[in-house]
Amino acid sequence: MPEQGADTSTMPPLSDQELLKARARLPQHVVHRSFVAETVVLNLRTGKYHGLNPTAGRMLEVLETSQTIGEAVPALATEYGLEQERIERDLLSLTRGLLERGLIVTTYDETS
């Protein structure tokens, strides 16, 4: 099934509110494996490994299965017993970091 919305890589940077409405996915050339103390994200195109701490690794897992980045916030807030504002801030920071490194792609439907 084709992704809904446009690939944001060709757009100007999204605002926080726009990013929360976007959908995050790993491109085909990026894989990850979870270990006890970290998650390793491997970009098969560049051959670069990236390490994520367990919290960031879990956030990535939830992001992958959420319709939007914002949808992941309440689930993670419940899981970690933290306020949604705090989770939202951390999740946006992680998402921007992953985007910068080409480890995720986001799609955004401006009409939504």
Binding site: H29, V31, R33, F35, V36, A37, E38, V40, L42, L44, R45, G47, Y49, G51
Partner: protein, 346 residues
Amino acid sequence: MTKPAERHTLAGETDDHRTAFGLTLSIDRRISIPGLGRSAFAAFDRPPSQVRLDEGELQHLWSSLETVPLRARELRLGDEVLLTVDFAEPPGYLLSAKDFGRVLISPTGDDLLCEPDPKNGAWANILAAQALPLAATIRGLEVFHASGVVLDGRALLFAGQPGAGKSSLAAAFVKEGARLLSDDAVALQLMDGELVAHAGSTVLQLRAREHERLSAQDRASLGEITDSPFDKQRYLSGGIGDPAPLGRIYLLERSAGGPSLERLDAVSPFDLIASTFNLSVRTPARLLNQLDVVSAIASGRLAYRLRVQPHIDATKLASIVRESLAADGPGPAVTMSGSGQQPPGL
């Protein structure tokens, strides 16, 4: 020059058939690679990799390139280049080793074309030390820079920096009855979630200091003494070289304190990746396999940290490892299945 298919037909009659790093090999009889086994169990049910001697063909293939080769690896000692690996399509990986010669390995790892340095009678050592591990990596195995032994049917691997004591520890096990799997590089294969360790070369190289510690009986138990390059004594351990399921991998670390041994329940994947042998192959398939092998080691809780003092008696270290194995019990039942052929006893 002959086509690969024709060579395969001819090879059965004249070549020496061996196994190493999970590969079946058909080796030109003019090439003598010490320490390779003759196991009936290989990683793949495929025609053997051909190891051939043909300087003219190698030069022709490499000089006919239409693209600039990519330098995949360069090993230096000071200003001196000791070893390089260059990649170009279609011929593949060209391994050049100072004083040993060149080996051109096809992109599929099933053809190794050799151009020896005529001044070095032991040039073929570069095959077991570098070229075959590279071919095994290309073929889909993950080679670790480790010595390995088989004890009670399971492979124990000892990984660490040069000089950490990998070979000495392997020797300490061998003289007490374990089977040498490999001295310097062991190929791991992931088969349905289980890891199998494939033998490399069973030429064991001990530093002179370690060799001098051994009694005559111990030396005899390590195998036939061969040549002695530099400050090392080489033993030809021999054997069939059957693979074995991976039991443990010990990451040796030099430490002023210790010795000490701990299981790494939260082993760093990067510590394991750093223990892999060959960085020349950066294809997506290899990178993914490398990560999956490392993941299987971690999830199987097979990694241990062994801190060792410099110059410690390896026999003492071996007894620490043995005590730990006895305390842990026999470990989980090992079952394997998959596309490759199964080692015995599984």
